[in-house]
Symmetry: D2
Subunit: 315 residues, 4 copies
Amino acid sequence: MKLTKEQNQEIKDQQSQANSTKRVTAIELEKILYEAIPVLDHGFIRVVDYMGDDTSVVQAARVSYGKGTKKVSTDSGLIKYLMRHWHSTPFEMCEIKYHVKLPIFIARQWIRHRTANVNEYSARYSILDKEFYLPEPGHLAAQSQINRQGRGDVIKGDQAKQVLDLLKNDAERTYKNYEQMLNQQYDGTVIDDSKVGLARELARMNLTLNTYTQWYWKTDLLNLMNFLRLRADQHAQYEIRAYAEAMLNTLKKWVPITYEAFMDYRVGGTEVSGKGKEVIVKLIKGKDVSIEESGLSKREWNELMDSFNLKEKKV
Amino acid sequence: MKLTKEQNQEIKDQQSQANSTKRVTAIELEKILYEAIPVLDHGFIRVVDYMGDDTSVVQAARVSYGKGTKKVSTDSGLIKYLMRHWHSTPFEMCEIKYHVKLPIFIARQWIRHRTANVNEYSARYSILDKEFYLPEPGHLAAQSQINRQGRGDVIKGDQAKQVLDLLKNDAERTYKNYEQMLNQQYDGTVIDDSKVGLARELARMNLTLNTYTQWYWKTDLLNLMNFLRLRADQHAQYEIRAYAEAMLNTLKKWVPITYEAFMDYRVGGTEVSGKGKEVIVKLIKGKDVSIEESGLSKREWNELMDSFNLKEKKV
Amino acid sequence: MKLTKEQNQEIKDQQSQANSTKRVTAIELEKILYEAIPVLDHGFIRVVDYMGDDTSVVQAARVSYGKGTKKVSTDSGLIKYLMRHWHSTPFEMCEIKYHVKLPIFIARQWIRHRTANVNEYSARYSILDKEFYLPEPGHLAAQSQINRQGRGDVIKGDQAKQVLDLLKNDAERTYKNYEQMLNQQYDGTVIDDSKVGLARELARMNLTLNTYTQWYWKTDLLNLMNFLRLRADQHAQYEIRAYAEAMLNTLKKWVPITYEAFMDYRVGGTEVSGKGKEVIVKLIKGKDVSIEESGLSKREWNELMDSFNLKEKKV
Amino acid sequence: MKLTKEQNQEIKDQQSQANSTKRVTAIELEKILYEAIPVLDHGFIRVVDYMGDDTSVVQAARVSYGKGTKKVSTDSGLIKYLMRHWHSTPFEMCEIKYHVKLPIFIARQWIRHRTANVNEYSARYSILDKEFYLPEPGHLAAQSQINRQGRGDVIKGDQAKQVLDLLKNDAERTYKNYEQMLNQQYDGTVIDDSKVGLARELARMNLTLNTYTQWYWKTDLLNLMNFLRLRADQHAQYEIRAYAEAMLNTLKKWVPITYEAFMDYRVGGTEVSGKGKEVIVKLIKGKDVSIEESGLSKREWNELMDSFNLKEKKV
């Protein structure tokens, strides 16, 4: 990730603000406000605004006149209780806004989370930056043979080199032709004075899906956790997981008590079906239980055993 | 509206906070933060948190690295443009949170706006305050004879007195019986030590719809304006309009440029149908136009004439 | 629940329709379409329209050109997989619409589910029916001593009688005074020709919260299941659970495969936190584990033991 | 647009269904159900399911026990009234589902309408079709000189040919390299048995934004109209407008009364600001009014004159 001199200056200007407010503030989050935290080769996330902190969750749950906190330990107990029992509305009372730079194919996954507010950089209105995502060698994975939407082993050697060359060359060529059609370079320089350029809203269609875009993305704490739960999960595509993990760090700085409850009950937790529960109960009681009598499919059985680290019982 | 000593203290404690933040702040709004602004006889609104200001709208529309503002005049022009052309997403980038005390029958209208976050005081968990809405004499209106969901003239004299007596007595009696069933007074005092109380979640059903409830209500700037456009309108029920008007004042303090555009394009503006447009064009050109040839119903015709203050053309 | 002759006729008229359609139809659900299924003393639910069935879930998951079904067994496996892995969007592809009659205090809980479409009978526009909810003796529960928002033992004898009398008398008196203020009886008869009536939007505030209202409520299959998961749960208030249980039956008739997966993975299942998982793993391996070393609070520990029917390990 | 033999057969199979239902049916819409209506060079829309018709809007507005319709003329008046006064909820009571094939850059605009349900063909799971959008010569527009996000004159001659060649060649080459990286052709044929393929979720990033994707898209009538109002507008990008116009035809077949009101009040109508209203009133009264005294910006003034076809008054 590299920022222009002007962008760096704009970030510094914002960071040097010191306004007085009666609102609650999250001290650890303030320290990294506006900072561009690198993700992938050219992407970043920046927290650009927020509202509320852990005490706001408590305050809303109690509909109180004053600040949420009575004692930190009481607040912590209440937040854990709310998380455990899926009380959702108090977590909607905090809000956060990110500025994100990300490849278009990841933006397309991300936008499927509808309960957020988004303003994307408009390629109808402006020329997109000349930046493409190219995976690091360690992330150049083959198609998984067992999971139709997963990754297998890392591709190495000549084939890896060939893939990276194809990606790089195609992105560069299509971008060059994008400029050609626009009759303008990425920096605005006109290429041929005697010609008009193709409409930006059309020319953009020539770009590849690893081109970077950027947006402002704002959501509440509940929906942020729903996003992170799915996207920081090991089943998520690596590239979006990289963003989710960077955001998990900002969550920790923002609402540390909620973060802890979230990691325990959601990220670190598991669901067990009705049939699965019966299997677990029998196992605890030392009884034998076979996949046949459990009513579980082979896949379900193995997922259950994985959940409880009982690899030896997988079939 | 009266607050307990403890509530007043909690509000003062919040108002005396002076935190340092790098976030944008709305200076005029900070001045009234947490303050309970009276509405109706026992209700209030309080702004308890907010995020962003006019510059945040501009910043998101431009997806910029720095603060939105270049020059205030440019920002103002952009915000007006966005409002005029129904660009909605930049206005979603600001957020506000209110603490509201309001009668239940108004809460039931209010909650129909789904794009907000709400935590209501729980009458399953706690005893509701002993406060009921009683209209002021000037708002005790008869049923409109021409609009099935509107108000007509103010009711006066004996009938007015009788109505207010009925409302007051019924509210007081049902509340007293609510306490009786709970076997507890509003302040928590147990009535009869030898008895258990009915479950709070059941006893509450005896209360009348003018009983006050309260909630935390959080929404973004776009949805706040959608709410205010409908609820500050003269067709809205007076009691919810009273809240909307108090909130309009907070909007003005929070985002003055957006407020001005909102008042001009939404609140003060009007819509004209395709057929209506043809009538207006003819009127401008000095041509005669009759309701018959316009294709408008009588009701539509009159609504159109009202929109443009052409009362003399009503039929 | 009693319907007027006219209402019964309207229902019959709808049920006698036999239209030909190319859309998928749910045969079992068609059998009860429009039927008013009684809930509580005067309430009901009626399925008045629907779109899609189990095959629509499969069709959307596959984005296929044809009907979802290849083989029922394949479809069933896919639906279970989707449910287990929280794939939500295919379940949004089915839609259902209910007509519901319910007490206002229950309507206030229900409406908190925002992702639904609602049209409520307007008490600004019309006079509400003269019907109030009165609990059956078996549901007249005392306040729970251990759960601030729960029910304890059933209240009996004189106190029960007294509570029911209070509820009945207050509802009847406030309704009578509502008519008085309207200067109109529930059936439209004017009471005193020489008087005007109070505006309906004001008079309604005198009604108690157990008065029945009604609405059209439409939602998609995913959000219906979210609703049922919370409201058919034993922690839900009995009165709303009664509606949820009646709706569970309609779910079964509509999408039997999805229903089965829902009952196994959601209703019958449980969540286990990260710390809870460690306890379960130790129990399965026959190791001793104490609440102290588990890091769980007493409340969490007991909830975990309850989840797996290990009452003997509760502390 | 061309469909495979198998796809055509699947469509025919669905169209030959003749199920009996008690639900309301929209006869004109049934006639085109499942049919692939061509849009752009390879895209289409297909209505694959629907719920409700004009009478459902009326039924919900009245919260009636029976079918909405009393008399068609009454229904029509009520629907117009609802549309004119922005009563939104009754229009949410109808639902429609489309299967759409569209270029990715258009899908990215479309998905910004959040209040819809979507299942997109997964390029993590499957190989995308080998189809790209290439504009027809008549739509190859230059960048507008006056509107930063609009189109100017059509590009012709050599430059047009060059642009189309670039688009075509780049799309074909990047697709070929996509196959190369996957080690599989679009039809599934493995290219080199001795190699593994790159994960599909990575390879897809090499595709250009004019590649076609497809999805199931379901929304309610209100949100469909919101979509169409913005996307069938002349300010919308031509390519999405092509879809919106095809969908307008399906709207007309589905809910003809609502369609008519929508065309009159929304599509054919206009909004006038408070200041604009004053200008119009003066013009009607034959008074002189200048842009200076109007308080309108030049841009606003001209937009207002355009709205009422007063081109001669533009400045």
